[in-house]
């Protein structure tokens, strides 16, 4: 394996991995604030891409992307308000079933609205053939956009949660909801806002990866499974760990084809998930104490 090959595989792995990481971050945001695993997370990514493609017919690309992110955030908020808000202390299992149902609903709605064709946004820079040479590695510029925008999102979210008042309020809700309410934080609104935030980052990821991977009405499920795997891998609730775990999984998948036939690539992800769940259920970076305090 030469250095060039190594970097090509690494790059492929990073580009898969960072998408998984973003989906996992979306899972974590909602989980942290509400304890719910939102299996409709993959659908937000799909919606972002689809809505952006529809908007490019009337708006220039950057506005179409921004518009898609905003509309998906509104959809996320509506989902929470209509289906989840009025539930009174629901059990975890009930919430999981509800979010799975929402994911199916969104998927079928997308099928009706946009059909089953694959769509993609135009490349943000250049077209299908442009590549940039970094050293001896050829990189399509879109991959750099994906890595760049996702990194900015992760950094932005870390800052948001650490510094801004709203971010701190959300962390308070995550730590202890009753105490947060007693402090005057409107927990219900925090829940809605967490859905909006997750939807927004999912949508942006969907837009930026759409020229490479194409968007289709049913890409949500596969992404949700991989994203959930990565979230568990890193330790449920820990966003930075999720991104790290995502990169790790992506790189493992990319390098795996040098030793195993390509047909087994998806099996690798699931095998790793199973191993982690057996050996370290709280994830690579999670701590068993913290995991013990949470109900899920």
């Amino acid at each position: 394996m030469t250095i060039d090959l190594f970097f090509q595989y690494l790059l492929a792995g990073i580009s898969y991995g960072i998408i998984y990481g973003i989906v996992a971050v979306g899972f974590n945001i909602i989980y942290n604030t509400t304890g719910i695993i939102n299996f409709a997370q993959g659908e937000f990514v799909m919606l972002g891409g689809m809505i952006a493609v529809s908007l490019t017919a009337v708006l220039p690309l950057p506005l179409a992307v921004a518009g898609a992110v905003l509309i998906t955030m509104v959809i996320g908020a509506l989902m929470e308000i209509i289906f989840i808000r009025w539930l009174d202390n629901p059990s975890v299992l009930r919430m999981i079933i509800i979010t799975i149902g929402l994911s199916i609903l969104t998927r079928e709605a997308a099928l009706h609205i946009w059909g089953e064709n694959i769509r993609s946004l135009p490349y943000f820079y250049g077209d299908e053939l442009t590549t940039i040479e970094i050293g001896s590695v050829r990189v399509p510029p879109q991959i750099l956009w994906v890595i760049g925008i996702c990194s900015v999102m992760v950094a932005g979210l870390s800052l948001f949660f650490k510094i801004t008042p709203l971010g701190r309020e959300m962390r308070a809700c995550a730590a202890n909801r009753t105490a947060a309410t007693l402090c005057g934080i409107n927990a219900r609104n925090m829940v809605t806002f967490s859905f909006m935030l997750s939807a927004g980052i999912g949508a942006l990821a969907g837009c930026v990866m759409s020229p490479i991977t194409y968007t289709q009405y049913d890409i949500g499920t596969g992404l949700a499974i991989k994203g959930f795997t990565v979230a568990i891998l890193g330790g449920l609730g820990n966003s930075l760990a999720a991104v790290a775990a995502g990169l790790l999984l992506g790189v493992i998948e990319a390098f795996s084809i040098t030793v195993v036939p390509l047909a087994f690539q998806d099996a690798i992800a699931i095998t790793i998930l199973l191993i982690i769940l057996f050996l370290r259920p709280h994830g690579i970076f999670g701590s068993s104490e913290a995991a013990g305090l949470k109900e899920f």
Partner: protein
């Protein structure tokens, strides 16, 4: 008086029933199981549109042998399980005369035995040779055999002195059959397969695979066998990596939407296909010219989109059924089945010559080698 009235009412009712019975005796029910939505939608949608268009045309012209055609189209979504349940429904509840489709090889193999045991004629729009090998008495197909497509590609490779290739296929029934035939027939053409890979049909990025293949500098060409979006994604990944090895695709590539989705990366792809895509350039005395140009004109006028070879397979299936029913004198399953077996028919996929041993009817010269130039399909010179 009341008794007389009662008898009159009864008589009128009996008369009415007889007329109704006579009216429905003049209808042929044909079922179709096609993948209108789902991953094979690029293939299924043109097939559905073609059947709808033909049903209208044929009924307007008086039907088949005087019988009106009732076309019942079911959307399998490309899923085997749905194909199986629709097949049972069409045979047992709707009691159709024949079934056209399914779109996909996997779905066809799933219902082959069901139709054979129910003695219902099945004319499939899927391409794998296994549909007609071993021959089932009631099962036919219209696309060219995938084994023939492989041979056509290998012949072309011999001409270009390509003898070391990589084979990549999608993990579907169609893909795996292609891999099987390629590995089986390669030694005959003195071609060595250096890499054999199967990718997930849902794969959204194949750049890791391209890296692996590129590392083997001996590979002169890549053959990709799939119908899913991966056809486009693989080409893009190859060209983005700067790899200019020749890319051959299967005859599952014959829909211009794949080319539109992939843009410039699709230039130069070589694949075998029926002559429908180059109908206008055929000489006037070519046996297929009339069928091809009239189907192309009617379809493009009605639906305002270019024809694809897949719609052509559905056209052939329906027209073969129609011709056989007319030849047999009416919708008698046994007679029609036997009539198909002796039929010679110039269709969109080629000139069919069926026989009791050959339920596919097409030979290797049903194929033309095509390529993509400036975003259009042209004949490969």
């Amino acid at each position: 008086m009341k008794q007389a009235m009662g008898k009159v009412v009864l008589a009128v009712a009996a008369l009415a029933l007889m007329t109704v019975a006579q009216a429905s005796a003049g209808t042929i029910k044909i079922g179709a199981i096609l993948a209108e939505t789902g991953p094979a939608g690029f293939l299924g949608k043109p097939e559905v549109k073609t059947l709808q268009m033909l049903t209208e045309q044929i009924n307007a012209a008086g039907g088949i042998a005087g019988n009106k055609v009732e076309m019942i189209i079911k959307d399998s979504g490309g899923a085997k399980e749905k194909a199986v349940s629709f097949a049972k429904q069409l045979i047992e509840e709707e009691k159709v005369f024949a079934i056209l489709g399914p779109t996909r090889s996997g779905s066809t193999m799933a219902i082959k035995n069901i139709c054979e045991q129910a003695k219902t004629i099945l004319i499939s729009c899927a391409s794998t040779k296994k549909i007609v090998d071993p021959v089932a008495k009631y099962v036919f197909k219209t696309p060219q055999n995938d084994s023939l497509a492989v041979r056509k590609i290998f012949e072309e490779m011999q001409k270009q002195k390509i003898d070391k290739i990589a084979v990549v296929v999608g993990g579907t029934g169609f893909g795996k059959m292609g891999k099987m035939f390629m590995n089986k027939l390669a030694p005959e053409y003195k071609i060595t397969i250096l890499a054999n890979e199967v990718y997930s049909p849902k794969a959204t990025d194949l750049s890791a695979l391209v890296t692996k293949l590129m590392a083997n500098k001996e590979i002169q060409a890549v053959v990709n066998w799939s119908i899913v979006p991966a056809q486009t994604i693989l080409a893009k990944n190859m060209r983005q990596a700067g790899w200019d090895a020749k890319l051959f695709q299967s005859h599952g590539f014959g829909n211009i939407k794949y080319v539109e989705a992939g843009g410039k990366a699709m230039e130069g792809i070589i694949f075998p296909a029926g002559r429908l895509l180059i109908a206008d350039t055929l000489p006037d005395n070519h046996p297929q010219k009339k069928v091809l140009t009239s189907y192309k004109k009617a379809y493009e006028e009605k639906y305002k989109e270019p024809v694809s070879t897949f719609g052509g397979h559905a056209y052939d299936a329906f027209m073969i059924l129609k011709t056989a029913v007319e030849k047999a004198g009416g919708p008698d399953k046994e007679k029609v089945r036997a009539a198909i077996e002796t039929l010679t028919f110039a269709g969109t996929g080629g000139v069919f010559k069926f026989s009791p041993e050959d339920h596919s009817g097409l030979s290797i010269d049903a194929f033309e080698m095509m390529t993509v130039k400036d975003g259009k399909f042209v004949k490969y010179q």
